[in-house]
Symmetry: C2
Subunit: 293 residues, 2 copies
């Protein structure tokens, strides 16, 4: 089942700001800029036993995306309340250990006066990712087309904002599937390693753990942030770096980190086998799934 | 007012394939990939006295976009019928000389079995573009981030598909507004002139009329196509070319061509004045607005 709450920050009565609705009944206008222009922002929260994870990091990123696309600053307290309520209600209905909550804010109905965003949260069970977490994923690199300094050079291209315009993020997965792979690692046009279409790259070399520098217009990974905390607790040094594709050949292990799949080891990159540390992967995923806040 | 017809190509009864609905009542699901991922395609038709223009060119482009994003081939006969009916009904209600019809196809509700696209057409009055057509528009160039050969190099980036993921196309207009300009001309990262966020560039040099080569991952302009026909009828030679930004300094005139605004002369580019041929502009726009098919 799917829980859906519409979010109306502008309603005078606080009791009317979160409105439970039937997720199977249409709720979005045919002239909403979310659907006519992919014009809005979103987040997807991991939920463990009814508790959304990394809430502050997600809300910070949401606020940053809103700034980048010049949406009004979201009422973070209200959206946090919406996320927690959707998670709790979906958990009450399904008792699923792992849920996801998706939060969407669009620019609202075109030419509406005054302009009012459309917003909702959805709570639903996570897919079963046991196999990918255990066996790993086959990944191909694909050119993202932009140089690695695109965010500084051309901020109007919105690199680093989590917008609803995800057609490319979906298209590259079809390309991966055509090539017999599971997922994609974007590489800049000048040879730097970036991120997946819905994940962050985590690289181990000895006792050091790296993720590509977010200054390249990458999303700050919320799951990757939690992974870094867990790795640090195990004695690894963590940090961001500019990594070139060639640098990955020296890696002792690589993962893609995301809200739904958590930490999925990369078992092959562009057809070359990559070493998988099953014990470390399992330990981190178990820790992520044992979080209590 | 806005006319809205839902389009259901898969319904067995042909009489139920076009369904008039209230455009102000929500019709789109909160889990539709059109709104959650900007995953779909669209077209916008000019309508003159109730008659949609360049229908065949729009439908051809729609089919091409669908191929690029791997949507099922749209039932073009049915969508043509939908567009003509929305145009006629909106014209009957408003008697507006200029209307627009927007056609949207999304990938449909996520994980639905079988997968079924969501589709609709909207008919609504065009905005008043008298001033831009007469006085011209101030345009700035902005880096599109991609090299000019991106479509051949990285087809997974969907350059040349008219998808619902238009957040960048909207963001660049806000950047133009911040700089006191009306519109944007994209330039490739390697210095080639491309297109506007919702228009094609038309350049005159003497008796020759050029538009940037669509092989650069550009949309084939439907209005630009009609403009070329009108220009050819007036003795101009028309064609596509690879144009570098520097080449524009030698132009005798430039326009942005689009369904809503038709032919808008560029009166300044990056702050430098551009010569405007008012007589030619007016003649072409009058011809475009006098079309009978």
């Amino acid at each position: 089942m799917t829980v859906c709450l519409l979010v109306h920050p502008d309603r005078p009565d606080p009791a009317e700001r979160l409105v439970p609705v039937d997720a199977d009944t249409p709720q979005v206008s045919v002239t909403d800029l979310g659907v006519t222009r992919g014009d809005g922002v979103f987040e997807v929260f991991t939920v463990v036993d009814g508790r959304p994870q990394a809430v502050e990091a997600h809300l910070r990123r949401l606020a940053n995306s809103a700034v980048m696309v010049e949406l009004a600053a979201p009422d973070l307290a209200l959206f946090e309340q919406a996320v927690r309520r959707a998670a709790a209600e979906e958990y009450r209905a399904t008792h699923a250990h792992e849920l996801l909550v998706k939060l969407i804010i669009t620019r609202g109905i075109e030419d509406a006066e005054p302009a009012v965003s459309t917003a909702w949260v959805l709570g639903f069970p996570n897919a079963d990712h046991t196999r990918e977490r255990r066996d790993g994923v086959d990944v191909i690199t694909l050119d993202r087309g932009y140089p690695h300094d695109i965010a500084a050079r051309a901020p109007w291209l919105l690199a680093g904002a989590k917008t609803l315009s995800y057609a490319i993020n979906r298209s590259v997965l079809r390309e991966a599937s055509r090539r017999g792979a599971d997922d994609v690692l974007f590489v800049s046009s000048d040879g730097y390693v970036l991120e997946g279409p819905s994940s962050s790259l985590v690289v181990r070399r000895g006792t050091r753990i790296w993720t590509p520098s977010t200054a390249q217009g990458l999303l700050r990974g919320t799951t990757q942030g939690c992974v870094f905390e867990e790795m640090a607790a195990r004695g690894y040094a963590t940090g961001e770096a500019l990594l070139r594709s060639d640098d990955l050949a020296q890696a002792d292990g690589m993962w893609l980190a995301s809200s739904g799949r958590l930490l999925a080891p990369i078992r092959s990159l562009d057809g070359r086998a990559v070493q998988v540390d099953h014990a470390l992967t399992d330990a981190i995923n178990e820790a992520l799934l044992a979080r209590t806040d």
